[in-house]
Amino acid sequence: MYVAKRVLQLVPLMFIIICLNFVLINMAPGDPALALAGAQAGSNQEYLEMLRIKFGLDKPIHERLIIYVSRVVQLDFGYSYFYRRPVFDVIWQHIPATLILMIPSFILAVIVGTLLGAYAAQRRGSRLEAALTTTNVGFYSLPVFWLGILEILVFALILRVLPTGGMIPATETGTEAILDILRHLILPTLALFLTLFPGFYLLARASVIEVMREDFITTFRAAGLKENAILYNHALRNAILPEVTAAGLLFGFLFAGSVLVETVFSWPGMGRLAYQAAMLRDYPLLMGIFIIGSAWFIIANLATDIAYSFLDPRVLYE
């Protein structure tokens, strides 16, 4: 029941996102056909005429909205003038690179952040904990693109031990290609990891401290359980709920969070594609990325809520 209700909420949300896109196109200065075509194609009169017919730009606004929504629902985001291919194909092709980069960084950040946070909570009030927390706020405040450039400066340009960017030269195949991808992954993964794990550290620290105050922990202590056993077997298990939510939200930012890091390291994924589309004023591509990124974000949120309801069944009865 709960799951079905949550899934049904997807429909109006997606509809609102698509409408927002529609409003942005129609409010754009000048001809909406230009907004649909992108700056590069703007001088091609025939192409503009074709778009006017395809999206019914001569029709009243409510009919245009219906046409636009029905096209987007069929995953028809138009045509990328720069890539000379349908927008959906272009985006689809760039997704794997983003997954390869972001998922390992996310997993590493969640695990290391959570464990370190729990460890710090156990040593609450100590110098070590204070130093760890302050350091984490520091990493938390680092702009990922600055960290990336510094990494390139040190490891790629001065020490010359790692590549500056890109993913793989087209000529290699097999094991060599995989090793090469891994070498290219090290710096961007490090930059993402270092800027992402502090969030999980701070959250885990706060929620473990919270749980350690509860009565059942005192009971365990009175029963003579070892502090480590209490922390890792009982406190952490109860403190994990906010971490699950935060990890789910982080996965929602899979594509949005890739823009800066992929641009710095010339990583050929969705984030860099968004940057290029913005630079080239390739609006159909940019809007396609916006809609797919939003859909992914909404689905990740939904999945998080559902996972949460299984971990904490109290939600289901509210």
Binding site: L24, A130, Y140, L153, M287, N301
Partner: protein
Amino acid sequence: MKTQVPVLSSMRNFWQGYKRDRLGLVGLVIVIAYIIVALLAPYISPYPPEALLFSPFLSPDQQHFLGTDSLGREVVSRLIWGTRISIVFGVGVAGLSLIVGVILGAVAGYYGGWLDNLLSRSFEVVLMIPSIFLIILVVAMYGSNIVNAMLVVAFTQWPWNARITRAQVLGLKGRTYVQAALLSGASHMRILFLHILPNGIQPVLANASLQMAYAVLVEASLSFLGLGDPNQVSWGQMLRLAQSNPLREPWTIISSGAAIFLLILSFNFLSMGLNAALNPRYAERKV
């Protein structure tokens, strides 16, 4: 109904709590220093920020403390002028988001019913939009001037303030002193904005400080991506330009990034101090 005792005394307690958090004080001092630099930029900047006065890629020396960039512009002057856009952006976005968020959140919490339902749904919907894509989309389509960018960033941020305010108002509206004000004939608006909000605003302020940090980061990111205001000197833009010759002007890369980092860090410390003052329970630690 003229008595407003709770506000003043709670503000004083608040400052007492805030002072205890050392990092919070450090953050406050650095933020104030940035604001002073931004205000005094024309007087303290050694050279005009856009003037092509020197040879490109000069190393740091006594005349140009951090050298010059690829066009021969002096880096210290550009850093000083770059403070302006970051502070304006941070304060502007957080202020806008604060005003809209507090008003809508307060109305939702105070009046309840269908209005609360409608407003709360709208908070949720806006929070479901991945802000970075929306910001890039709007800036690319509508032009990369600072006003557009600030409006769209504030649009993605106000629901956080609205949610916090709503919860605060819900908690306070049942209090006896509010009931007393109501019975003595004070209007709803007066009760909401003079009696409830001043007593529940602190968590929103802590959040506003976080939003300033976020806005500074977004401005730097947009400029770094080349989507910032081209007519304004900004740290992100400096990084973007220096990125093509990192070995020839490492000082530009280090200093402009450090300027962004330190400002964001200070806003985060500021917010931690505000939180520590709000929850004395967490303030016991001596950091």
